[in-house]
């Protein structure tokens, strides 16, 4: 269980904004998975808006790369995604697991610029 945890990236750490895909490529209230450098990053779109969030695609409970296929929603107003395998919920903004306080998945800054979804990274990644 002692895995090297992947660190979240905060907006202040961002050295690069990586363009992932057009916003239209993400159906409202669903997620997609993107390869950013060597990492799998899940990107979620809230409703038909340009509000997007990014988390790691790795589900620490099932140990499979599947978070982007989870169902979006909220618990008491907290935006969350439910793992598609065993249904644990994760806060989209912080990555904290809402069902197990000891577990967190990484989160990354995400935004929409000119209709394109971008994810921020602290690494110097070539596009």
């Amino acid at each position: 269980m002692e895995r090297s945890m992947v660190q979240s990236t905060t907006t202040a750490d961002v050295k690069n904004w990586i363009t992932i895909c057009p916003l239209d490529a993400i159906a409202p209230n669903t997620g997609v998975n993107a390869l950013v450098g060597t990492q799998q990053v899940a990107i979620f779109r809230i409703g038909a808006t340009d509000e997007v969030y990014a988390t790691g695609n790795f589900d620490p409970f099932s140990k499979a790369f599947v978070m982007s296929r989870g169902i979006l929603g909220d618990r008491q107003g907290i935006l969350k995604v439910a793992s598609p395998i065993y249904k644990q919920n994760f806060n989209l903004k912080t990555g904290a697991c809402l069902d197990d306080a000891t577990v967190t998945i990484p989160v990354y800054p995400a935004r929409v610029v000119d209709g394109q979804v971008q994810v921020g990274t602290s690494c110097q990644v070539k596009q």
Partner: protein
Amino acid sequence: MPSSKQTLIVVGNGMVGHRLLELMVAKGALEHWNLITFCEEPRVAYDRVHLSEYFVDKTAADLTLVTPGFYQDNGIRIYVGDRIVEIDRGQQRVKSANGVEIAYDRLVLATGSYPFVPPIKGNDATGTFVYRTIEDLDAIKAYAAQSQVGVVVGGGLLGLECANALKSLGLETHVVEFAPRLMPVQLDEAAGEVLKEKIEALEVQVHTSKATTDIVSDGGRLVSMQFADETSLQTDMIVFSAGIRPRDELARDCGLQLGDRGGIVIDDACQTSDPNIYAIGECALYQGRIFGLVAPGYHMAEVASDQLLEVAAAQQFVGADMSTKLKLLGVDVASFGDNFAKTTGAKELTVADTVAGTYKKLVVNADGDRLLGGILVGDAEAYGTLLQLMQNQIALPDNPLGLLLPAGDGAAALTMDNLPDTAQVCSCNNVTKGQLCEAIQADGITDLPTLKKCTTAGTGCGGCVPLVKDILKTELKKAGIEVKNHICEHFPYSRQELYHLLRVGEIRSFDALLAQYGSGYGCEVCKPTVASMLASSWNDYVLNTPHVGLQDTNDSFLANIQKDGTYSVIPRIPGGEITPERLIVLGQIAQEFDLYTKITGGQRVVLFGARVDQLPIIWQKLVAHGFESGHAYGKALRTVKSCVGSTWCRFGVQDSTSLAIEVELRYRGLRSPHKLKSAVSGCTRECAEAQGKDFGIIATENGWNLYVCGNGGMKPQHALLLATDLDKETLIKYLDRFLVFYIRTADKLERTSTWFNKLEGGLDYLKQVIIEDSLGIAHELEAQMQHHVDTYQCEWKTTIETPEKVQRFNHFVNTDAADPSLAYVQERGQKRPATEAERVVLNQSHDAMITPAQ
């Protein structure tokens, strides 16, 4: 480092040592204490109680008891793979094998026990093992690979557990017991005999009254064991499981008081003869007894943590009830209280059913009105009730034997109201009825999962869960709380109410329903529920934009997700009938994509291990060969199984296969509250097992009998005969009505059997609605089904014909690469997902994939 904190060192990181640390943290110790622990084994605490599952389907990681980050996050220093070798009580210092020296304020010995190996000649030969740690199991597993026969020495609780492990490794398994019966501590002779018979029926040979005198090896390999009665037994390996001995050598070396036969003497506070040193678990000796079960060990951890933290009203250890209920090799065994009727004047009542292989004994007091103990073998369902009757000295009914009979009046003797608040309900985690009631009242808990989570009751062995559920029900009823059946926090309606609103208002999307009747964003509970209601009402394509984000995991990719994130593919094979040509196509596709292939219980073929990006390519081929979606991924009609019927079978009276195909094609794709299974049998021999299905049809000389609301699976239930000797038209009419009535009125994820069990009026009522149309809705129900039939489409055909839908199946949105984290190994000529250990070997651990690039 100056610190005003005290230092506590816990020696040993087994189940009990770890529990102590958890309790210390939970009770707020971190503010005043530095916590340090030494773990001799190469891994942190794991669940030894379920150790044999390591051979079945559990990995070392599955067995761990430590939540990730527990030690790091709480700043607990843990020395893994190191052990204490010396305690200097004068200086209050300990020294480890690796040379670590630390001073302590308090020390807790949780060193556990070691397996006792009887002093038999040859007991250290190659091929002899003990059964305690994961390393022991690895060694057993490796050696078993080159062995045919395995013997367990010791027919106690752990020995039988170990026999189970050997059997699961495919060995011819024997158990050798010195005493004249199995589990001599827990069972009497008759009970031991019943258990022996049951176990021998599972092909584990039991040899009782056998004293081993010699273990014989030849050429470095073990060959046989000799017994005192001059018999012998050929074997390739031996596992000793003949009891435990306390690990007390550290205590002995530093002069703590020990028992005559070992064990560190402790008092009610779990303190040893040195007030700065405590001992808990299997190394501790309390009033001359070692407690070799986990529950007393956990209780000692509770006591020790209270004492260390000097809490007000600290708990005391007063010995422990060694009552036990377990499943050994699939056989229920329970033993509790005064199981051998040693109390003066005690009487025994026994019920032995030699046909079913059950033995039940109650020990009652001289007046016959109080329970003192008992033994159950073969069926231990009554254990929870009996234990409560005994522990709380509740008056027995006039005929106590009734407690032992199925559906006896045991429940009548034990009502939740006459159970005192002090009654211990969960013995694993020591939760009383009073604590449960308080949680229900004070925290307003109304559901079982929350109650379990908040109180930890029922989270150990799970044996008390039915009791916990009854207490919850009783308390809620007392408080006049109506148990809410709202589907979730986003909709203050039950599924049935919402279904009605959706149909009456002709609401066609989740967003519209949420706007009108709900709040928030929705969640993984209400979204799939509403998606199913929309589908069964309007039958739109489920991956259409407004619906796609609502679908449950499997529906959203039209396939069944597996543990590694890949999917299984199940095309429809109506009635289980398939031409050789189509069977070959399935084989070719499985070969082309290297898919693990298996036959399902529903007479279909399932192909496992398809990556999400492969699904549309696979389905393109399947659809081109005339296959269509099998809806195995949906809460929907799965299969209509059939026997071959009158066309081939010499007993068949009707053509069951043709009817099964017709029924399956009529209801294919029908979304419902839960999955629907069906079958058609061609005669009363019932080879298709229709009476275990949601709806089943059995041929008669005059037509068809219709059965409904049966179930296999978790809680088997026999289907009920709704109507007899129907012609096909009437049969279909009744089925249409029945299915839509169920779909409209059931709760979310409720199978027809549970739906029926809650239906007021039962079978008579159902007959009135379906056959006599007492609600006057038959026409409406039929019309809704006809709409479904008329608007059916194969979701996979629609998907592969829509390029933008196909695009969703790419693993990455920004590259065509496949998921690089997947890893497989070969087994019996096919692939299967690699275990974590195998992944390390394959060097394809996901770590490589999540390391940030620099």
